[in-house]
Structure formats: structure tokens, C-alpha cells
């Protein structure tokens, strides 16, 4: 009985592996996917931050935000997988239209979800709270960004 059970378990594992091994060895956690997700999420949250502060509402597209992400450390680290990524988001400030670079330390988890921690400039993402109309203290949506991207 136990040998039969072991054989069954082995067959189950092999079936599972063949079923799912059709993909490849990649984790699916690649820089382009992270950059696309982070830049669009940032743009949406920037719009939210501006409206919460009582500023004129910019459109997310007008920011032309672009993220550039690298896995931390030396250049020979494979640019793939979970862990800490360093990202720079370049966007055009509403109004004058000059470029600003916002920096983030991004902790990417294996399921494709990430937590991006603001690392400057302080006025954009440095403080966990912002001041709304009537001096109300609100959560700064750009201080900590939670997002996910498709790894499949």
C-alpha cells in the first residue's frame, strides 16, 4: 500500500511539473513589467496627491511619467526576480512642465506585488502625510506605493 502511495505521489508531482514546466526558467519579475506598472501607478497617485492638496487636477497622461528600475548592488546582478529594486521615475510637473525625478526603493515580492518606499525628493514622497485644505493631515499617497503586475 505504501509503495503504491509513493508511486502515486511521484506520478502526481511529475504530472504537475510537466503541466507547468511549459513555461521557462524566468521568474516573470522583469524590469520592463515593474517599470510599466510603477510609472502608471505613480501617475495616478500623483493626480490624487495634487487634488487632495487642493491643487488643480492634472491628467495622469500629461505627466509622461517613465520609470527606470535596476536591481540594487553591482551591475552583474541578474536584472530579474524578487528583492529590492531601485527605481527612478521621471515626470513633468503640472504647469511649468519641467522634469522631476522621484526615487523609490521597491521591494518586489515573488507574486508580482511590490511596496515602493519614497526616497526623495522630500516634498514629493518624503513625508508620510500631506496637508490638505483647512490644514487637514492626509496620507501622502506617494510616500508608500503598493502595486502589482502580472507575472504570467
Amino acid at each position: 500500500m505504501s509503495r503504491r502511495l509513493a508511486a502515486g505521489t511521484a506520478a502526481a508531482v511529475i504530472t504537475l511539473l510537466t503541466l507547468t514546466a511549459s513555461g521557462c526558467g524566468s521568474t516573470g519579475l522583469t524590469a520592463p513589467r515593474l517599470q510599466t506598472s510603477l510609472s502608471s501607478t505613480f501617475a495616478n497617485l500623483y493626480v490624487l496627491q495634487q487634488t487632495e492638496q487642493g491643487n488643480p487636477k492634472p491628467s495622469a497622461a500629461s505627466l509622461k511619467s517613465q520609470a527606470s528600475c535596476q536591481k540594487g548592488g553591482t551591475p552583474d546582478i541578474p536584472q530579474d526576480g524578487s528583492g529590492v529594486w531601485l527605481c527612478q521615475i521621471t515626470y513633468l510637473v503640472a504647469g511649468p512642465g519641467y522634469p522631476v525625478i522621484a526615487k523609490y526603493n521597491v521591494d518586489v515580492q515573488t507574486d508580482g506585488c511590490y511596496a515602493a518606499d519614497g526616497d526623495g525628493p522630500a516634498s514629493v514622497n518624503g513625508s508620510p502625510t500631506i496637508t490638505g485644505p483647512h490644514y487637514a493631515q492626509l496620507i501622502n499617497p506617494l510616500s508608500l506605493i503598493d502595486g502589482c503586475f502580472d507575472t504570467t
Partner: protein, 298 residues
């Protein structure tokens, strides 16, 4: 004394032979009888009542707890928004507790449902009744799945109600977009429903360990340990397919629903993963159960 045909007591009915297929109406009704009896037995168990109570009041306790403090569970998705919108609360519960609380909850019942008969030595008693092994297996299996489904439905309702009670402001989605109250309600329900398949997968897994081990401590313990093992393995940089094989991965598929644009790829793969686990575990459990010698020297 004579008994008219059809008036024989239930235990005197001819037992359904191995030839009786699932299309046999007697077998189907026999499964239902076992299912109803098992549900009645479950209702009497203290752990079933405790889980039901937790599902009923847990979300409200969490809302009350969040109300008396200003700190937020910031290290999980939606955590920073729990004071801004009530819709964040059921999602934090799902994200924070879903991966281990739900599997453990179903394993506590499913991991015991077969082995308790071994513990009390009651297999011989119930197998001498007119119910075949197939009917017994199906009835018990269905009862465990019914419990898991009922507890999940209860948790979805109370979680959503607790969230609505806390506030119906728009919530910030994972794509940075503002999600309106009506759409957020839909997403909360759909997200919770999306973890039903892996929960049922864990139910089948616990039934298999319960049948194979004939011991409730092992039957419940192995799925719980596997849950923790999955959590550890998830931290390793596995290739994408390696992550998809794990039964814990489908518990995180709902994140895609809250993105902009929403994506369902992980959910579909999770559906496949859950179905494979469910099928293999229930088939293995049935094979072991069918061939077991009961009453002989073990």
C-alpha cells in the same frame, strides 16, 4: 412476525454492491443521507462552532480594534488605507490572513472527518450499515466541502458588512486609481470568491491526509505544516511555473483585479493549480479508502 416488502428496516436493505455506478439513484440518495448525518455531527463539534463564531464576529472585532488606534498595518497591500476607506479592511484581512488562516480553518475540519472514525473505532459500525464505501466517502467529502464553502460565504458577508460599517469612501486601488463604492463592493466579493478554489484544494488535501494517516493530529497537522512550508518556499526565487505549482499562490491572484487595467492571468493559472491539487488529492484519498482493510488486523 412478517414484514411486507419495502417495510424492512434500513439496515436490512441489500448493500449497494461494487457494481452500483454513480448513476444509481440509491447510491445518490445514500450519499445525501451520509452528507446530512455528517453535517449534523459537524454542527455538534466545538471547533466548528468556534470557527463559525470567528467568521461571524472576527471582521467586526478587527474594525473595532482599528478604530481605537491610529497605527496601520502598513506592510500589506491596502494596509495604509484602512482608516480612509472601509473597503480596505476586508482586503487587508484577505491579504494578511488569507494565505494561512483559510487553509488552517478548513484543514481543522477536513483533516479530522475520516480519522475521527479511526479514533473512536466506529468504521466497523458504520460500514455494516446499508451505505457503501463510495457513499460514505462522497458524503463525508461533501460535508467537509460544505463546511469550507459555508464558512467562506459567512466570512465574505461579515467582512463586507464590517467594511461598509467602517466607511464607504472610494478606496485607492493597486493601480493608484480611485475605486468607487459600488465597484469596490464588487471587487471585494470577487476577490474573496477567487480564493474559494484553493480553499477547496486544501480541503481535499486535508481529507487525503486524514484518510491516509488514520490520525487526526496528522490529518490536520500535515496541511498546516504544508501551508507554512509553502510560505517559506514562496520566498525563494523560484521560476514562474514553480510558483504556480504551489497551492498557496492562488490565494494572491486577487491582486490583479484591483489593478488598472485589471488582469486575470494569475487567477486562471490558480484555477488550474487548485483543480489539479483537488483532483489528485481526492482521487488518492478515494484509492486509499477503497482498498483499506477495516476490521482485520491492521
Amino acid at each position: 412476525m412478517t414484514l411486507a416488502a419495502g417495510q424492512w428496516p434500513a439496515y436490512a436493505e441489500p448493500a449497494a454492491g461494487p457494481a452500483a455506478g454513480p448513476s444509481d439513484p440509491r447510491q445518490r440518495s445514500g450519499t445525501l443521507v451520509v452528507w446530512r448525518l455528517e453535517l449534523a455531527k459537524l454542527r455538534g463539534q466545538w471547533r466548528v462552532r468556534a470557527i463559525a463564531l470567528m467568521c461571524l464576529v472576527g471582521p467586526f472585532v478587527i474594525v473595532a480594534g482599528l478604530n481605537v488606534q491610529s497605527a496601520t498595518p502598513g506592510d500589506t497591500a491596502f494596509g495604509q488605507w484602512v482608516h480612509t476607506s472601509g473597503f480596505a479592511i476586508p482586503m487587508v484581512i484577505l491579504g494578511f490572513g488569507g494565505q494561512w488562516l483559510l487553509p488552517v480553518g478548513t484543514a481543522v475540519v477536513a483533516g479530522d472527518i475520516f480519522s475521527s472514525e479511526d479514533h473512536f473505532g466506529t468504521w466497523k459500525t458504520i460500514l455494516t450499515r446499508s451505505r457503501s464505501r463510495g457513499e460514505l466517502f462522497a458524503g463525508k467529502f461533501l460535508a467537509a466541502c460544505t463546511f469550507a464553502t459555508a464558512a467562506m460565504v459567512l466570512l465574505i458577508i461579515t467582512g463586507l458588512l464590517a467594511g461598509l460599517l467602517a466607511g464607504t469612501q472610494p478606496v485607492v486601488g493597486l493601480g493608484g486609481q480611485l475605486v468607487t463604492a459600488s465597484h469596490a463592493t464588487e471587487l471585494v466579493v470577487v476577490s474573496w470568491l477567487s480564493v474559494m478554489p484553493p480553499v477547496l484544494g486544501f480541503t481535499a488535501l486535508a481529507i487525503f491526509t486524514s484518510v491516509a494517516s488514520r490520525n487526526s493530529a496528522v490529518g490536520i497537522g500535515v496541511p498546516v505544516v504544508l501551508t507554512l512550508a509553502f510560505q517559506v518556499v514562496t520566498l525563494i526565487a523560484l521560476p514562474a511555473w514553480g510558483q504556480q505549482v504551489l497551492l498557496s499562490t492562488p490565494f494572491t491572484a486577487w491582486h490583479g483585479f484591483w489593478e488598472q487595467p485589471a488582469y486575470v492571468g494569475p487567477f486562471l493559472y490558480g484555477l488550474l493549480t487548485s483543480a489539479v491539487w483537488f483532483t489528485l488529492c481526492s482521487a488518492a484519498a478515494w484509492l486509499v479508502f477503497r482498498r483499506r482493510t477495516i476490521g482485520g488486523a491492521s
